[in-house]
Symmetry: C2
Subunit: 191 residues, 2 copies
Amino acid sequence: MNKEKAISIVKPQLTEERFEHTLRVTQTALELAETYNVNKEKVELAGILHDYAKYRPKEELKRSILTSNLPKDLLDYHHELWHGPAGALLLEQEHGINDSDVQQAIRYHTTGKANMSMLEMIIFIADYSEPGRDFPGVQEVRDIVHHDLYRASWLATRNTINFLMQKNATIYPDTFHAYNDLTRQLNGGND
Amino acid sequence: MNKEKAISIVKPQLTEERFEHTLRVTQTALELAETYNVNKEKVELAGILHDYAKYRPKEELKRSILTSNLPKDLLDYHHELWHGPAGALLLEQEHGINDSDVQQAIRYHTTGKANMSMLEMIIFIADYSEPGRDFPGVQEVRDIVHHDLYRASWLATRNTINFLMQKNATIYPDTFHAYNDLTRQLNGGND
């Protein structure tokens, strides 16, 4: 699927503000794809489509989770976490997008996961650090993301866990698994 | 098993300093048992015995984990986490201590877990907050532990996760599960 087609699919689903975020994520992700030599077509597609289900009604997202093989424990966590996994699913059902690399990058863009592929990590960190984002720690991530993608992703998961704990919020297990996995990668396999 | 017998079992296993910690944990735990009306015999036994395996050689703890039904993923995390689960096991093998409530409290005293019993929570928080402990946040836990055991335990898990993330260390999943579970309890079942 080319860029124009992907944009024509996602644009009607988003607010103008969210669409601009989408373009910034895509641009940020493409720059990372260049740095790390990752397939640009897949990065571009995942970037453009990652928030496809962002504004679907909660009940529809819930139904997608309940009627698919997505993990049901998602429903025990904040509904903000549902649009990634449900989005990957709905893009396949509604537009036949079945590239599993792209699907996985969309699915995990909010939570991260253990053993992220380069594509997954690029979408995860582009969504976190695109130039429109403004929260404590994001500049540090931007400063290093082009020379240490693992450490940038580790900082992002750590900041996210901290942020959620400050809010007294629960944390989806995949985010913990991402933190532990990236910690091990940075420590050279040791705890 | 009475107090004197338990002490005679554990004392030879510990340094003098660690034995004094053990007595402070036991005293702290007994005060909490009084406040929350929890079985004092079990609390005392778990308090006295919780660090039984603290100074066993790493190789012995590892063997205990490998040759039992303890979760093998413990071995992927810091060895400081092994003495609780291995201790509960060794106390049964070496001294016939098979009260499952006491075993569980010893097993989870370092990591915590989801759905802790009152006994488990009391040993977990007594170990964390006994008067000899001195680290950021511990006084806040002491200040509330006699009127809000759940919040005190939640603060302890949050502080522990923060502390480990500051050290760039991995975090055992049971600690995350404890955090999420206690967060839900404090939020009245909502995320």
